[in-house]
């Protein structure tokens, strides 16, 4: 797992990463690297710190020790580039607004991948015809699909997905897998958390077991 010196710089690298809340260790120490084209699963039981890890990696939380490198440069809270897309438990969508309004806001905030429009992204997550429907009237799975459409739109190379399969039907799970494959093939990378019963089916992804720190 230790990257060789002649390998290209990993998209994401964690070195001796630990995180503690109120002096209580949540996870770590963790060392891993994520290269372009990789999909990696973070496995752990409930409460093993998966969500905290993703928050540390995206810069929302400061690690207690260790560092996070994005493309070889240290991640700081102050400055993030358009490199990371985060999909958390909270989707970050406004229920009062339509799917299209939500996506247009996301594009304004995070930029857009060339060759795609919000309409196309909605169509590719199976929400054609729902563009103008307020999210309040959508099901949990459909809201999740809108959040997945946001992943497609934003130009980030690194996806940090917290339980992306939650609330999705079988078709939705296949959709997430298809999106992940597509993302990996064009040189992106993704880190997915899962509580064991994972649904990523294409190939055998690398796994990082996460155990509560002793």
């Amino acid at each position: 797992m230790q990257p060789l010196s002649d390998e290209p710089t990993p998209l994401l690298e964690a070195r001796g990463l630990t995180f503690a809340r109120n002096d209580e260790a949540i996870f770590g120490p963790l060392d891993f690297a994520l290269h372009a084209g990789e999909v990696v699963l973070i496995e752990g039981d409930n409460g093993s710190g998966k969500t905290s890890l993703l928050k540390v990696l995206s810069g929302l939380l400061e690690p207690t020790t260790g560092e996070v490198l994005l493309n070889g440069t240290p991640l700081t809270l102050a400055r993030l580039s358009h490199q990371v897309s985060l999909l958390g438990h909270l989707l970050g969508l406004k229920l009062e607004l339509s799917a299209l309004q939500n996506l247009r806001f996301a594009v304004g905030l995070g930029g857009i991948r060339p060759g795609i429009t919000p309409q196309l992204a909605l169509a590719s997550v199976g929400l054609e015809g729902y563009e103008d429907q307020p999210l309040r009237s959508m099901s949990a799975g459909q809201k999740k699909r809108v959040a997945l459409a946001r992943l497609l739109l934003l130009p980030a190379g690194l996806w940090l997905l917290d339980e992306p399969y939650a609330n999705l039907d079988r078709g939705g799970i296949e959709l997430v897998n298809r999106l992940l494959d597509h993302h990996a093939r064009r040189g992106g990378a993704a880190l997915i958390t899962s509580h064991g019963a994972y649904a990523y089916t294409s190939g055998t992804p690398r796994r990082i077991p996460l155990r509560a720190a002793a």
């Binding site: 929302l60 406004k94 009062e96 607004l97 806001f105 304004g108 930029g111």
Partner: protein
């Protein structure tokens, strides 16, 4: 505007928040009704004695407007925190302070501006002398953004807590008392025929200071609240 630039991010945020206020326009009217009701109740409680109403008019309107603004303050970042939008703002590559400044601007535009617009009506209800009305409007125009800015810092500090309403009020009230003293003081001075420019200039100076510092402080406080 190229998507993803900071200018595009600010305009997207302004558009989205305005659309949200429009969707919840019933809630947005709440502070306005509150202020009108408070001002309208004073003559009922104290009697329609024109001399006394004239004397307390400016102060009453000032207090009513500031309290009405407090009503809507708690919601400034709460919904964004609860639905995860705030995380997306923090993770975005733009300066958080600037994004928060946009949100504060929307708060002022949608709560304080309507209050400023009905202030002449409130002044009529309280028999405020016509010569004092411009001074009152200028003082309110300077004091209300000050409250939005100071309030935003306090909201950012308390938004992570479950029941922060009481704490927020306790934090904000002492901080806006100077704005109240100088704003209402300018009106009273104008009413008494005394020079009233100096307190307005003080308010302006504080406003300039707050415009620069408050978004930075709010951004730092929000990052603490998120952890």
């Amino acid at each position: 505007m190229k998507p993803g630039t900071t200018a595009a991010a600010c305009s997207a945020l302004l558009t989205r928040d305005l659309a949200l206020v429009w969707r919840r326009r019933g809630d947005a009217l709440n502070p306005l009704l509150f202020a009108v009701m408070v001002v309208a109740l004073f003559p009922f409680a104290l009697g329609p004695d024109q001399v006394m109403l004239e004397r307390i008019a400016a102060g009453t309107i000032f207090v009513a407007v500031l309290l009405a603004m407090l009503l809507s303050l708690d919601a400034l970042f709460r919904t964004d925190l609860e639905d995860g939008s705030l995380e997306q703002l923090v993770v975005s590559p733009h300066p958080l302070a600037l994004l928060l400044a946009c949100k504060i601007a929307i708060h002022w535009l949608t709560t304080a501006l309507p209050l400023l617009l009905i202030a002449p009506l409130a002044a009529q209800l309280m028999h405020l002398p016509d010569v004092v009305l411009p001074v009152l409007l200028i003082a309110l125009a300077l004091a209300t953004p000050l409250l939005s800015l100071i309030g935003a810092v306090c909201v950012a500090l308390t938004v992570g807590m479950r029941r922060s309403g009481m704490l927020l009020t306790l934090l904000v009230l002492p901080l806006i008392v100077p704005a109240l003293i100088f704003g209402a003081g300018a009106c009273n001075a104008a009413q008494a025929g005394l020079p009233y420019v100096a307190p307005l200039l003080w308010l302006g100076a504080w406003l300039v200071l707050a415009v620069v510092l408050a978004p930075l402080a709010a951004a730092a406080a929000l990052k603490i609240s998120l952890t």
